[in-house]
Subunit: 265 residues, 4 copies
């Protein structure tokens, strides 16, 4: 378990009163106890908490026109990190039909992870059969080696096919490609938005999880060093399910800062 | 309420023992009481029932190599049909942030309904604001007028963008385009697989539902006549969630027949 | 040199008087002397010969409404065939800037051969440097091994990316993928429409040519046996430049037959 | 006729000795007499002039590793400008089969202008028949109204479909969309790279030309004011044919300046 202190701040410029959805609070889970959690919005702005279809911690409300500042502060414990693939038993994957429904769901293709289209490519590169963990390990290493981390080379319409062909992107794109390739070789994979200790530069983060040996294992192809501590916000099929903000109208992010530190330091 | 008698038969040719998922039984719902429901598979084939993440009636198991015949027979009542848009109150759409979580989910773009990419087109054609029902009605009429129903012009990779540009497809493609355009104008829309009374030629069917005035309303752009009775199998974001069969291996459908009749006739 | 006798027949059903372009006659070239060449159209239909921008033998005119039958008969000599890659000197490719203008043109991406998007994939699989002929040979073998020849899995919008991902198609798609991969590794490649001796079933054919060692070498990934004799109709960047018919209106091909035989037999 | 003085400067950073193609000199044409034209490159760099397949003024050679500065200066006369559509006779388009070969070429779909895919959309919006000039005028006005000029929203893989759906881009994207829509309604259209008087901020420019009434007419949807003077560099199907630089290796543009002034001022 690692204790994390998280501070998130964003300045928004809203063109008008705008119905909005936010998903930026760390999920409260047995494996991730949240000891403190405060969301600050301008006086008079009501941001009602609710769970989305995946149980993700969401907020909804109307943001006023003009400048809006939001702050989120939390202290939590997490035992989520990457580098766990080597601990997974290298047994052959069980038949897909024996997987639980929530794992089967994450074998399906999705908006940014059209794994059906990438299936042949994935099988060529990483094999259609055999133990899952070493194949996922090779997916992660292949992406890390082949794809360049670069801002401004991808946008909200970029899919895993674009990233596979074009070989550049940001954390979201790395996660999408990892998910699509894993699904393509028969391994359930899902998207996670979250906070990451040690991320440079600090930012909201995205990574992915694969379902192996009865549990979800975190993977992150943006780094060849294990991520020491990850705090999950939301999960979903891909980034379409985990946007930190959705504005039904026009809103611009003019500033954002994220600080993730080991608590107690 | 309409009473329907449904008979579905399929002949499969499996290349080898194949983990398989099936979704072909009518959903058991208060609005759709199922009085009889029988699924026949070869002796020794176990097809375990389970609910997927959307609560859809699914089966899983291992299909043996070679010929496999499956039969499904049901008698049920349904009050689902199309032609209901004119009954919806023509009030302005409520702010998206007031929608229930399960409706918000169906505003998101998906594999075959990349509504984010089609948003400008949808708003140009059908308007971004105002009452929902007449705009959905125009979406349905526009698709019916512009898109040609034609077998062999689309396949499992065809998205709503292809159908919007290419103007031909089958029921699945009509539904995807309807969903993407409705989401693009801010109206939650989901995919439905089901059985349809009066479909010519008889087949499994796909249509879509929009969330208006607090409930889901069925729409079908493949016909300019209301569909008199629809029996729902599954719902989802798009066809990726509602395949009647998913084979984790190689299986071929060599014959399929669907009979839907008014029961008691 | 092989002497070929070619007979092409097509039945068309034109919805109305339709401006039309045809490109189906074998090119008259020093390397391909055409001894006899007759095009038959209904009385009163004038099909004016002209050369397109690539010098391809084209015809234009107005086809009448209703049934239109066209016949083309030719006798010619050709020394074009596949299987020549092994004869090319395995020297390193010269700098692109030393290539003649007409070869440089065929390094550019095109409608169905978006070689820019496939460059990373091509370089991963076949290398960015070194002698050209063995790399092209590996492109041809890779396509032959990985892509399934199948009617009905591609259409006029199918690009080399679709074929690379989906792994099935017809001769046109095999040629597009070969072209895109060769351009991606720095080797000029162009599309050829033509007649092929020994094609089974007989049909119009498409293949591709690469520019190596100062000349264009024919390649055909649809076969692992060398094609013994090829008669070129047109060349271009891809199929967009070499359609055998272009109707500015609605015309349907109701029947086509192609017979290619060794002359004098 | 307008006399223009053009100065172009670029600083390049080449990763290594790189075979390179340049296309940045104004075309020498009877309608565009070039009185002075000087290209400066570092001593020892030979940039051989040649014409590409469209007759465009091109250069090729090996650029050395490290910093490379290039300067181009020209004085020329041009009578090319936009705003000429209103002068075209509003007669119906002649049958496509009567167009000259070089116009027919520019009816074909191309890499960034997949006009085949956009044909239905173009016909819906602008009509399939009737006089060409007013329809082209509506294409230009529609693009100007609907598409936002914005840097960083498109890249070298952006096609007219992306711009049609996403509604933002730069001059290259505006030209691609104009070309694709015009071809889609049966009007030959080609891409032009060039220099533009009064462009703000100054830059290399791209626009398009349509073939109407026997000649090529310049159009530019990036402005609602006529462009007073345009100096053509190259023409082609789309930007794939008119890149100002093509490096067969890695080169970065670190600085570029373009000055276009009325000469004699």
């Amino acid at each position: 378990m690692t204790s994390l202190s998280i501070r998130f701040h964003v300045d928004l410029d809203m063109a008008s009163e705008t119905p909005s959805i936010l998903m930026l609070e760390a999920a409260r889970r047995p494996e991730q106890p949240v000891h403190e959690s405060k969301l600050f919005a301008p006086v008079g702005v009501d941001l009602e908490p609710y769970k989305d279809i995946y149980g993700n911690p969401s907020r909804r409300g109307i943001l006023p026109a003009g400048y809006v500042g939001l702050d989120y502060e939390a202290v939590l414990d997490t035992d989520d990190h990457t580098g766990l693939l080597s601990e997974i038993d290298t047994i052959d994957m069980p038949p897909a039909s024996t997987l639980p429904a929530e794992a089967l769901h994450f074998l399906l293709p999705s908006r940014y992870c059209p794994s059906d289209d990438l299936e042949s490519v994935a099988r060529d590169l990483f094999g259609a059969r055999g133990p899952g963990a070493p194949r996922v390990q090779r997916v992660v290493e292949w992406i890390h080696e082949k794809v360049r981390y670069a801002y401004g080379t991808s946008d909200s319409a970029t899919t895993a096919i674009h990233t596979f062909l074009g070989r550049s992107g940001v954390c979201r794109d790395f996660a999408h490609l990892g998910i699509a390739l894993c699904r393509g070789i028969g391994i359930p994979a899902r998207y996670v938005s979250g906070y990451c200790l040690g991320l440079e530069p600090p930012d909201l983060h995205a990574y992915f999880q694969v379902y192996l040996d009865g549990r979800w294992i975190s993977c992150d192809a943006t780094s060849d060093e294990p991520r020491p501590a990850l705090a999950r916000i939301g999960i979903g099929r891909d980034a379409a399910d985990c946007a930190w903000s959705t504005f039904y109208g026009r809103g611009t992010t003019t500033f954002m800062s994220v600080v993730v530190e080991e608590a107690g330091r």
